[in-house]
Symmetry: C2
Subunit: 318 residues, 2 copies
């Protein structure tokens, strides 16, 4: 039944849960927003209402439905069996704690039908650890969004060894219908793909500061004014393809240089010591580490991501 019609449930109404509910509703899917604590899902729905209004006001609302129609698709529910009754898809987004997730899954097992997809938003727990004991393991996978999901389209689909092809392909089609960009890992791997690439970058950024080569501000400029703009449009492999006469020509031409430089990377950093203070001070000089300042800077970031997302989808439509 996916994705032409789909009843979804989002469990737990934190930041990621609210984003999922908004994405489902923007695509026209009825969605139940569940939180076990009474009143919390209703409160989240109020936040969503404010959020949608402000997105509409700035011209950044997703989907073709007006705010009221999108809101009417989202129902706040405090009872789990009511939340999942008759749904095709459950997106779990409770905190990153294996025992909390397992407890929820134990409650879900008798409530879900034999075809309901159960997807976890986890960024760090492996699907084999999450789903081995489930009643219908073939329906279970990780469906990991990127913060903020409303403007960053990537979703990582990660199966465990027992995930069925049907569940994987239904989740993939649903994500496409949401307007997200799903990628599929053929098997699980710690950090999935996004965080592995991110950590490879962080490791080298840290070493450049720790070894006294560059200031933290300049390390960030290397990305924001150098590599970052290209990566918003062209991935690392295509960058190689375009920066020579095709991919093989790049590898032939630069292999010796790449290998010699990579061999000089040195051991992994331990994320402590003097470099920690140096970077922390530099970051706090721009944005003090208090709620108000961090929120203002995140809002600044999200506005830019919004504008870039609009620019990219306008180009996509061309």
């Amino acid at each position: 039944c996916l994705p032409a019609a789909c009843r979804c449930c989002v469990s737990y109404s934190g930041l990621i849960g609210r984003s999922w509910a908004m994405l489902f509703a923007a695509a026209g899917f009825p969605v139940r927003l569940y939180d076990s604590l009474p009143g919390v899902a209703e409160k989240a729905l109020q936040d969503i209402r404010e959020n949608l209004k402000s997105l509409a006001a700035s011209g950044s609302l997703r989907g073709s439905l007006p705010v009221d129609s999108q809101l009417s698709l989202i129902q706040a529910v405090a009872d789990l069996s009511e939340a999942v009754s008759g749904v095709d898809y459950v997106q779990e987004c409770i905190p990153e704690d294996l025992s909390m997730k397992e407890e929820l899954y134990r409650q879900l097992d008798p409530l879900l039908g034999p075809r309901t997809v159960l997807a976890s938003s986890t960024s760090c727990l492996l699907p084999s650890a999450l789903f081995a004991q489930r009643r219908y393991p073939a329906n279970c996978l990780v469906c990991h969004p990127v913060n903020p999901p409303y403007f960053v389209r990537l979703v990582e689909l990660v199966p465990h060894a027992g995930t069925g092809g049907a569940a994987l392909s239904r989740a993939h089609r649903l994500m496409r219908r949401l307007g997200q960009a799903p990628v599929t890992l053929r098997r699980e791997i710690p950090g999935f793909a996004l965080n592995r690439v991110q950590y490879a970058i962080i490791a080298e950024a840290w070493r450049l500061v720790r070894d006294g080569v560059m200031s933290p501000e300049d390390v960030d400029l290397v990305m924001t004014e150098g590599l970052g703009p290209r990566y918003a449009f062209v991935g690392p492999l295509e960058t190689m393809h375009l920066n020579a006469e095709g991919f093989k020509s790049y590898c032939e031409r630069y292999e010796a240089g790449m290998t010699s430089i990579m061999s000089a990377f040195g051991p992994l950093p331990n994320f402590a010591g003097e470099a920690l203070d140096t970077i922390d001070q530099a970051m706090c000089a721009r944005t003090p580490a208090n709620q108000e300042s961090l929120s203002a800077r995140r809002k600044w970031r999200d506005e830019r991501l919004t504008e870039l997302a609009k620019m990219k989808s306008a180009q996509h439509a061309e």
Copy 2:
């Protein structure tokens, strides 16, 4: 005398040389474009004329001067002593070949005054290897742009042990006057900063394909739809700062996870074998590895970079 008034010389009129000449002229600096082969610099000047007209037509011309004024600032010269006579700054951009660069520097040594900055555009040769034998080594440094320099603002300034603070700070001020974003390496390091970060990304991208975790297309999507949009605005260190309650809070919260994932990265890839064919086929399916197709795709990329650069400078001006 820098950067209020500056006479520049760009040696060799390849793609990077032409870009530098355009950047200097856009900022109002007189520039001599030198190539030792007779007629080649004049030909490059014709290319620049066409290029500037097309940039003006698409609203992407840099600087406040009209095309004709910018063009009148660029002079094509085939004689080296005429090219550098009275200049404050020389940007060398001949091919990445140590013996070619040394031969040019040997010709330059008797021609340059005791205060003329000599900057190399090299991306891979170390300044200690380039400049140890120069007549005025304190004036010499690497000033590495990113392709395409007209729309990607980063410039890496890399001193050798004998580079003087005056030359470094003059180059820094000049780059700022060009509207570029200079970063300073405190000492030389193979790959400088940009390519070290880029190669760290490439290594992990390669392993994800080689180990059968992900298709090449999906690896690129991880960047273009996931990490890339953020990195166009927020560097890797600030991303950590914003994704928790400040940088120290991020390190405390994620250190164990990062360390465990980084430890699983495995050895460096060798850029050969089955993965090479897999990636090459995927890249060629989108853009065949011939001049015409690659040029068209590079033009597509540069148009997007142009639009993003306009968006970023509009925000900067706010």
